[in-house]
Amino acid sequence: MPELNLTSAPAHLRHGSNIGQPLTRRDGVLKVTGRATYAADNHPPGMLFAVIAVSSIARGRVTSLDVAAAKRHPGVVDVMTPDHKPQLAIDPEIKTNPFVFRMDALHSKEVRYANQPIAVVIAETLEAATEGAALLAPRYETLPPLVGLDAGESFVPPVVGVGNPAESHHGDVEAGLASAEKRIDATYETPPQYHNAMEPHAIVVQWDGDRLSVDMPTQGLMLSLARIAELFGIAHDKIHIRSPFLGGGFGSKGLMGGPPVLGIMAAKLVGRPIKLVLRREQMYGPVGHRAPTRQRLRIGADAEGRLTALDHHARTVSSTFDDFYEPAADASHTLYAAPAIRTSHDAVRVNTGTPLFMRAPGEATGSITLESAIDEMAWACGMDPLAFRLKNYAEVEPMTGRPFSSKALRACYEQGAARFGWAKRSLRPRQMRDDAGLLVGWGMGTATFPALMFQAEARAAIRRDGSGVMEIGAHDMGQGAWTALAQIAADGLGLDVDRVEFKAGTSDLPDAGIAGGSAHTATAGAAIHSAGAAVIARLADLATNDERSPLFGAGNAGVIARDGRLIRRDDESRGESYSEILARAGVAEVEARGTGAPNPAAMEEYAMHAHGAVFAEVKVDPDLGQVRVTRMVGAFAAGRIVNPRMVQSQLFGGMIWGMSFALHEEAITDRRSGRIMNANLGEYHIPVNADVPPLDVITVEEHDPHVNALGIKGVGEIGITGSAGAVANAVWHATGVRVRRFPIQIEELLTQL
């Protein structure tokens, strides 16, 4: 692949600093002209095509594969099976760290879920490999699969999400419920959902001796590299991964799954480059999904509408062979000031691919139920849902009593409600109609997502010509990292963004951490910021220690970097350009590294979360029960906004995911076979453009001095939270019918309207 160079993009008009500017995507022209190279666009010479054959049963054993028939097919080169494959250096079932998930790498003939890889056919053409896979005609010994939330004995998992306790409590929930004036006890269900990134999982692999070159979309270059290294027993520096662009990931490309490993194995088996791309339906199994949940919320409130207790229990599922538990109930930890809160989880094992992180894991599933239940509680108390939420506003984190590092939620409520016109809402449901006679409903939800930080490193340099370089193995999933991180880099280097060569997306660059947890901009940004500061300090050393410099004697802290110059803090008329400093010092460039990491002391002291308030209007046909969202307003406070345009798009995307959660999305599992019956974008319904109403996003100003040096909280996932509940609550307000199974389906409304 040609070296990716985004520095020649047309200059952006800029006023003031780079951070905060609504720059358009620096990779936009490449993308709209088809020149952005995604993994599957690579075709090294001699490349073969690999196609995975997947299991059609969900539980049992493969007893035979007609390998001979597949091999007889013209163009088929080889068939990789459990009996014929390169050996891995370690057992793929071993969890070497908590971020390693068990994968299916043809190490066993046992079948644990439908769509599990059972063989790989390698051929000269995609068509030949596809037909070869069909000709394998697997035979099975089939066992009855475990399907659904009641598939077996439930158990309390050791942890949920990433290391959260399965049960947490604060105060006496039972006493709080007993003393309540009003109580609700409601059970909700959320379906399995699949990430469905537009770009399917793909890998192009080339071995050169023990060196490995890989093109694949990944949200975690270093995690993927480390996993490949341990599986294939090769040193980290023998592996080069390129992932300049992802066509969406949403969590499904964060951790190395089985399919790319099979591509690497196939290339090793045949000694030629391999391309392996998942078919859409094959993405419903081996690459993670959002597990279904059943959640019971019991809430009590006193006569004034103050919460007395909040009890949130979530049942979920994991696979029969690994552990990931959707931490749905934990959504109740932070939002409402109940004196007693208990969250708990249990789970059953089913024949499914292991569920994994999917955009706002836990927060999304927990938010739609919590916000529905809060809405039910407000109605039980006869209160406006916004007034009820304000009455129970958490001034400190309810479970811990810690102060928030910042929390502009009140402003979100105010600004969102004002923009939406919330004050005109009828308290009672089914009171509003439009000119066409459609029922109109208004609902709201509170949004929240933790402000997380991982670890990252960046390398910065300033060159003799006065330009800058910033290197970090960051990931652009479509969210705009190429742009936002370059803006942070430019500010860190005291340069215009067009004077910075920003390098990202390959594994030979410093580790940017994972693009997940809505933490990538904060984490990578912090590393970039500190690398920039470090290289400027080096440059300042050169200048301030040199008698010939107008900055001589100013001291390191006595200079500031601006527009490619260092200037004296106490006299801005005195300064010189980067190139002058480097030329006089006789060096080609100065470089430095910086790191980004969470601050444990601040995390101990403060609760750190982004917040928001989402308001939705739906219309419902009173006879036919068809629901459509007609308007949404979201007001979000997420610390510093690096690029308002990218942030708005992220929040739009999240809000659309939220309405999709409430009204559209559901993987339908055949309860007898455990197969997903709508594993395609025709039948797995996500909203089309005509379903998406005018969306209005307000970013509420919020200054947070504690989360990180830049004050960034992250916006990748928060948009889903609050939004899904707002839509569900609007449906209730329109109809008076409370649907507790998501997505809300027409039959639930039809008979009750």
């Binding site: 059609s56 049963i57 013209p74 068509e127 596809t130 037909e131 069909a134 439009d434 000119d435 066409a436 459609l438 219309k619 046909d621 006879d623 036919l624 029960g625 068809q626 459509r628 007609t630 559209h664 339908i668 599992t669 055949d670 309860r671 007898r672 076979s673 197969r675 019956m677 709508n678 025709g682 039948e683 319904h685 996500i686 909203p687 089309v688 453009n689 005509a690 379903d691 005018p694 389906q745 027409i746 039959e747 039809l750 008979t751």
Partner: protein, 351 residues
């Protein structure tokens, strides 16, 4: 993919001869067939590409007042033919409510009528399906079947026909012109699709080699132009099949219904003509009560084939609404959201 022969005949007669061989199928736009082949659902030995045949892509107004639509006219071209849309507005509205803009640009009139069911068990080759493999059984019957048939189904098959286009066509007495080994013949569209009975694998009245060359709407079909609508309830506003749909067309004279036409989509293995409902609407005033009565008649004999009892009630309500909309008059322009219950909602900008 399984290897297959590809032939491109020069004439209709050659096409018929080429497709009469076992394992041969016609290929038009392929918007359904190619997906079926990629999924291993359909594994033909020979594709007979008819897209280059001359004379099948015309919309002709015949002297007797009927219209003849060539089988290769695209869904989009037909819907956007201004004269056609004025004369048969429910047909144009149905076309525009189907699939997506990209698919409509490619999909043809003949192909639309012969598209296969979207029953998930038909597409899932690991499932038993009597349509895909005669006598293998029906996994939909006790499976995930909330979208399946409520009329005309059998224990052997509960699949529905997915076409929107076919619904107003059947209401308007469309005729299908077929070229076969025995020459040209024509049948009513209502006779093209078969109900499953005990042979769900036999989906139509077509014999090997039979090629639909045109669809004709008789002169009387124009008479409904001022009171004709198509209404489709679906789970998203575009690119989704109907849960239930209805085409309603009325000829109103002196404040009374002189003649009514009604058909339902998404309820059976074929577009479902509701003649009993039409009969009760003859010579009555177009009132909600009359339409309620028609709705009950339309769904007489309906029974759930699974978790889909709601479709019967939904179908009744859709019938009433479609008739009310038709009685109110065909709008001057096809709504931006064609066939949507939200068509009248302001602000919609998508067609």
């Amino acid at each position: 993919m399984k290897p297959f022969d590809y032939v491109r005949p020069a004439t209709v007669a050659e096409a018929v001869a080429a497709a009469a061989l076992p394992g041969a199928v016609f290929l038009a736009a392929g918007t359904n067939l190619l997906d079926l082949m990629k999924g291993g659902v359909s594994r033909p030995d020979r594709l007979v590409d008819v897209t280059h045949l001359d004379g099948l892509d015309q919309i002709e107004r015949l002297p007797d007042g009927s219209v003849r639509i060539g089988a290769l006219v695209s869904n989009a071209d037909l819907a956007h033919d201004a004269d056609f849309a004025r004369s048969y507005p429910a047909v144009a509205e149905a076309l525009l409510s189907g699939a997506s803009a990209q698919l409509r640009n490619a999909a043809t009139v003949g192909g639309n009528l012969l598209q296969r069911t979207r029953c998930a068990y038909f597409y899932d080759t690991a499932s038993r399906c009597n349509k895909r493999e005669a006598g293998s059984g029906c996994d939909a019957r006790d499976g995930e079947n909330r979208s399946h048939a409520v009329l005309g189904w059998s224990e052997n098959c509960i699949a529905t026909h997915p076409s929107d286009f076919g619904v107003p066509l059947i209401a308007l007495d469309a005729v299908v012109e077929i070229e076969g080994r025995g020459g040209r013949r024509e049948i009513a569209l209502d006779e093209l699709h078969r109900l499953p009975g005990d042979a769900p694998e036999r989906e139509s009245a077509l014999e090997p080699g039979d090629l639909i060359v045109a669809v004709r709407l008789p002169p009387a079909a124009r008479a409904f132009a001022s009171h004709a609508r198509y209404l489709k309830v679906r789970e998203r506003t575009s690119y989704a099949f109907a849960i239930v749909s209805a085409a309603a067309a009325l000829r109103i004279e002196n404040g009374k219904i002189a003649e009514a036409r009604l058909a339902l989509g998404g309820v059976a293995a074929k577009p479902w003509r509701a003649r009993a409902a039409e009969d009760v609407l003859r010579n009555v005033a177009p009132t909600a009560d009359a339409f309620q009565e028609a709705a009950w008649r339309a769904l007489e004999g309906a029974k759930p084939s699974g978790d889909n009892a709601f479709k019967i009630e939904l179908a009744r309500r859709i019938v009433v609404r479609a008739l009310l909309l038709a009685a109110a008059g065909t709008p001057a322009r096809i709504p931006a959201l064609p066939a949507s219950p939200f068509a009248a909602t302001s602000g919609a900008i998508h067609a």
